[in-house]
Symmetry: C2
Subunit: 335 residues, 2 copies
């Protein structure tokens, strides 16, 4: 999206894009009641449940993963009518950059069964996303998973907004509301809004360097001909997200009790940093963990400029309420 | 079941009665390949997946909770055709005490998102069950949840076998295979079989006392009129299964940040010991935790006698194979 495509809009906070990730969903009523606690400098923040039907059923999704459904070709194909495709269209019609309550930034709140701590996922290298992530890392030290170059995993929600990222907190079981996980989610969300407030007010300060963990490839456990797993994550690798895995380190534990160690392929770097180790929902995607490479980047001033340009157009809470009233007068009520 | 109802039979080990509790399911091929590692003194042990369809779908169940479906009235009603009711009938037809491969003991392997550690669940006060639990507690110190007097939760699998209990290991997220949880499950299972081997050989020794945590009642979080939770488990209570909760201790954390403390009702004892704190699957049952009372019982010699009488009739692995061959010659293959 180029600068002249930018328009005035609010910030969208999405909870429960996956219906069994319940911590942000649990806190939505609290945030809706007092948004000024999250954004004391008065950004227009809209909150929505990502996948209300899946939340009701306590499942990740009903027909397909909503956070892989934001593919333009899918959304524009009228023959595609799965629940999550329809919900993706709804979300864009309502809160998209050209929606009825336009939003310029999307913050998508997730949890994971992996020991990811409080972390960020950025999709690709859009300058405004990198600035937002750098601002968050500068303030809270959050690790960043840069997801790119993975043709098997595409169609993420935040990619359809001019700026956005995923806040990913774990470990927490699917379906469990944990006070500690909720608190960490809220801290990261409030800090993301503070970075946007700084950018809107022209006082954004970014660190000089950004540490990112760049996606390289994903590994699955070995399986038999019928797809049954012949091993599980090795206990010495479990919960070691964001820590280096070196050649010959234990990777999996085979059913017969033998350890299977990590042996890099010709394309792999010497050390890799695994993330999303043993995330329950990735079993069906054939992912036992993803391997990243740790890189230290110099923060490019253009990133901060991109975020500040976009943030200068962010609506205030008052403007947001006026827009909402105007839209409600002329159209059907928002979802 | 009285002594003269007892017949020769094997031991049934059930994995994946809930389809998203995957640790025992993961280990089934290993156990099937070398059952003598689990039962070196040669009991006839049969292994089965409890709910193969739910395992395939990665869900607790398809139509209804299989581990609440073993109600005689339900099983005997031909109009009841839900998947789990049919599966319960199948399991009994195949492995029940009068099934094609008769089993006298059922060990049902579960996992939980609660920090229950390695623990046992016993349903009611059948002497043989109490002896098996006492034998396990004597060897491994496992805590025991005695589930009784709860009319809202009935129809457990093991109740339909002459002797049986649940091995419940946690915390582990639903859908996750954890090497550590699998190892604990295997240790408890092997020890249960060792107690049965002792009983069969007439050398069963039980401890003098049994510590049980007897079910009193369950608590749910407060909810609004539409059923949405207004609080979650307090972070200071989370992971404190099996530890005393005293009046005024924090119980829940309200959405507005206030702690809600435990205030016993007139029927409650001074101290209660919570179990299954924040088990994900119990949300739909309206259970945030269950309260138990800790009691120390003198082990009754009758219990050991009941278990030894039953165990004396347990088949050896060789007998079991002969039965299997005989049945397979005359009927359809077992499930």
């Amino acid at each position: 999206m180029t600068a002249d495509e930018l328009a005035r809009g609010g910030v969208l906070v999405v909870a429960g894009t996956h219906g069994n990730e319940r911590n942000a969903v649990h806190l939505l009523p609290r945030w809706r009641l007092a948004p000024e606690r999250l954004s004391p400098r008065g950004l227009a923040v809209s909150f929505t449940e990502g996948n209300p039907e899946a939340i009701r059923e306590g499942r990740r999704y009903c027909d397909r993963d909503l956070n892989r459904a934001f593919l333009p070709a899918l959304l524009e194909d009228p023959t595609q009518q799965e629940l999550e495709v329809r919900r993706a269209r709804d979300l864009l019609d309502t809160w998209g950059p050209r929606g009825r309550f336009p939003c310029a930034v999307a913050l998508d709140l997730h949890s994971t069964t992996a020991a990811m701590g409080n972390s960020l996922v950025v999709y690709g290298r859009r300058p405004a996303d990198l600035a937002l992530a750098a601002g968050l890392q500068g303030r809270l030290g959050l690790p960043i998973y840069l997801h790119e170059g993975d043709p098997s995993q595409r169609g993420y929600l935040v990619e359809r907004w001019p700026c956005g990222l995923v806040i990913e907190v774990g470990p927490v079981p699917q379906g469990v509301v944990s006070a500690a996980i909720g608190e960490r989610t809220e801290i990261a969300l409030a800090m993301a809004l503070a970075v946007l407030e700084d950018a809107r007010e022209g006082v954004l300060r970014l660190p000089e360097r950004l540490v990112i963990h760049r996606h390289r490839r994903s590994l699955d456990v070995p399986r038999d001909g019928s797809g049954k797993p012949l091993a599980c994550v090795h206990p010495r690798l479990q919960d070691r997200d964001w820590r280096p895995l070196r050649p010959s380190d234990p990777l999996f534990l085979a059913l017969d009790g033998r350890p299977l160690s990590w042996e890099p392929g010709p394309q792999d770097p010497e050390a890799v940093w695994p993330v999303f180790i043993n995330e329950a929902a990735y079993e069906e995607k054939g992912i036992a963990l993803s391997l990243t490479e740790r890189e230290v980047w110099t923060v490019d001033p253009e990133w901060g400029l991109a975020l500040s340009t976009l943030a200068a157009l962010l609506l205030s809470a008052d403007d947001g309420n006026k827009t909402r009233l105007a839209v409600e007068k002329t159209s059907r009520p928002g979802s």
